[in-house]
């Protein structure tokens, strides 16, 4: 393996525009808190954001903050503060990092965007489609600030999305309207919701196209790029600026494909990543894969912001469907079939499962899936033990060795 040499990550030029967009998003939130209007709603990352935008809220996503705490490596410092007040080290480390940072009065938003503190919620709106932890996370702040906490309780481990799932969730979302009206001071307008859903639909279509660029050989972007560039799909969906951004990014990626520009120079192996990113180690892992001339070209995680079902004609029902069709909500058989499809389309040579200690819902290696998929697809699989945010659960050397040994295995397989 000594033949591999260090290579630099290639800059995606659109990044500059994305940074401006994110800065504008957070500045707007800070201004709103200063002026008292518009009201700020906290929303889980795959929560009913369209409804909140339609009601005139500015929407803030604590999971984005959790990822920022991870990526800036502040998380591991703050998690113990949350542990100390009764939030277990075994639960979601987005939650514990975020609550710990709040208890310490610190946020990475200060350095990045000049905010003194996180924009406090006027209302907290969750969707349990990801996990139960989001509800408990938001409940902390509801108690802390004495603000309303409402949410949608999604059916989980679904094989096939049924009409009764949709009907139930659509009703749950409609039932939130009176509280949202009261807090926002605005009347619900179905046309505004249709407009927002249409904008989210366009955003998600473009995001899908961005990710599908990874099927090109060589791939013009990496999983690590995608984890950064998904930010507008997470925090700005339902807004026109996300659409403009993805048009820009897509143009650049298509130019890369046309000119055979590889995100990983000399791409030898193409991998699929299942599970959460290890936010505090993105740079190191990206560099290691670059050195090994291996590109992670597809992932379940980044695909989680593809919502094909949005339909302005049926805003509530289509939101219900979009937020229930998600990978994380589904049963193992659906997940395997879904991954298999992407694995085949993207010419994948091997699969990496990240078993994130504090994220059981987004760790798919715990019920025999790697063994089943490896056998069925005839692909080498690797399980990495780590965490999204809590680097106390991560062994740098062991992970590096596992990855290197995995690539050696792929090399051996290819040479046979």
């Amino acid at each position: 393996m000594s033949a591999a040499k260090e290579t630099d990550r290639k800059t995606i030029h659109a990044t500059t525009e994305m940074k401006k967009l994110m800065a504008s998003h957070f500045t707007e939130l800070a201004e709103a808190k200063k002026n008292g209007r518009p009201k700020v709603a906290w929303c889980t990352s795959v929560g009913p954001a369209e409804l909140l935008h339609a009601m005139g809220f500015l929407v803030y996503y604590p999971e984005n903050h959790g990822a920022l705490l991870g990526a800036t490596r502040m998380a591991t410092e703050f998690i113990p503060a949350a542990n100390a007040v009764g939030y277990s080290p075994e639960i979601c480390s987005y939650l514990t990092a975020d609550v710990g940072a709040y208890l310490k009065g610190v946020t990475p938003l200060t350095k990045a965007y000049g905010l003194k503190e996180v924009p406090r919620a006027d209302i907290l709106v969750y969707n349990t489609n990801q996990c139960r932890d989001v509800q408990d996370w938001f409940a902390f702040y509801a108690r802390e600030w004495n603000v309303p906490l409402i949410g949608v309780h999604t059916h989980r481990n679904i094989k096939e999305v049924k009409d009764y799932h949709i009907a139930d969730l659509a009703e749950q979302m409609k039932a939130m309207i009176p509280v949202l009206e009261e807090v926002s001071g605005n009347r619900f307008d179905i046309d505004k919701l249709r407009e927002t859903v249409a904008l989210s639909l366009e955003c998600t279509k473009l995001w899908r196209q961005v990710l599908e660029c990874g099927a090109a050989k060589p791939a013009p972007l990496t999983f690590f790029d995608a984890t950064i560039h998904m930010a507008p799909a997470v925090v700005l969906r339902g807004l026109p600026q996300a659409i403009d951004y993805y048009k820009l990014l897509l143009k650049e990626l298509k130019e890369r494909i046309a000119n055979s520009v590889a995100a990983v120079e000399g791409e030898r192996h193409r991998l699929y990543w299942d599970g959460m990113p290890i936010w505090g180690k993105l740079r190191e892992l990206s560099q290691q894969f670059m050195t090994l001339r291996t590109n992670i070209v597809a992932s379940s995680y980044c695909n989680s912001w593809i919502f094909d079902a949005f339909d302005p004609a049926q805003p509530f029902e289509s939101m219900a469907r979009a937020y229930t069709e998600l990978f994380i909500v589904r049963d193992e058989s659906y997940k395997e079939a879904y991954m298999e499809q992407w694995i085949k389309t993207f010419s994948i040579d091997g699969i990496i499962f990240h078993d994130a200690r504090t994220c059981p819902n987004n760790s798919n290696s715990r019920y025999g899936m790697p063994q089943r998929m490896g056998t069925r697809l005839g692909l080498p699989v690797l399980v990495i033990n780590g965490d999204l945010n809590d680097l106390r659960c991560y062994s740098e050397e062991q992970t590096r060795t596992n990855i290197e040994a995995f690539i050696e295995q792929l090399d051996e397989k290819r040479s046979c």
């Binding site: 033990n385 060795t401 050696e408 397989k413």
Partner: protein, 272 residues
Amino acid sequence: MSGSGDNRSTLEEALFGGIDVGSCTTKAVIIDGKRNIVAASVGYTGTDFEKAANDVWNTCMSEAHAEPSRIMAIVSTGYGRNSVSFASARFTEISCHARGCLHFFSGPLTVIDIGGQDNKIIKLDHKGQRISFKMNRKCAAGTGAFLEEMALRLRLPLHELDRLARNADGEVTLGSYCTVFSATEVLEKIKAGHPVDRIVKGLFRSVLKRILEMDTLDDTIVITGGVIQHNPFLAEMLRDHTDNPIRVPEHPQVIGALGAALYASKALCEDV
């Protein structure tokens, strides 16, 4: 020492080196062009990987009575593989242990390597190609470090463990996964008056349980690493858990270094 070839060297004179810088010990092996082991040496790694590699390599060269110019290539492996500046290539210990085992046994194999700080299970098919591998999780339960910690708690020299376990007329059951919890459990057993040899056998069983949790054991099982070198009774105890053939190569501690040497010889020797 020389990491590059000498034009005067012929394949018959050629020697190849492998260095395995592990977390506890550093191992070196020199093989000839016919892949026979010419010399092997082992030393403590300590805190300076580069120095450990140099020292162990120099000892190995002395044992080989070889001119440095005969060394055609050196491959490093192990935890400190990147610290061996005179190696011409490096491979992970997973690849090297597999390669080393295939030198003695043909596939399909399940290789169990019990190292100082990690355990590995590597599965090879009938062609010797790797199907899968697993390393223990971050925890050092069931590794050499676990036995070292327990020997310390029991105030026993490490080299006494194998004899005590072998001669025990029974064993105590230790249920904990964690090394720290196991230590507490051991103290409880001592307090309860259990003989020390039965406790040691219980510790050996605990090592095996940790391995059995990692993966299934298929086909012929080969055990490598320093722990099995110094505690061969573990291989006998493994027979309680499987009907599959169990093999321990000669000098199991240096199999990783041997695998590295075999990689080093690959460019010049066919069929390695």
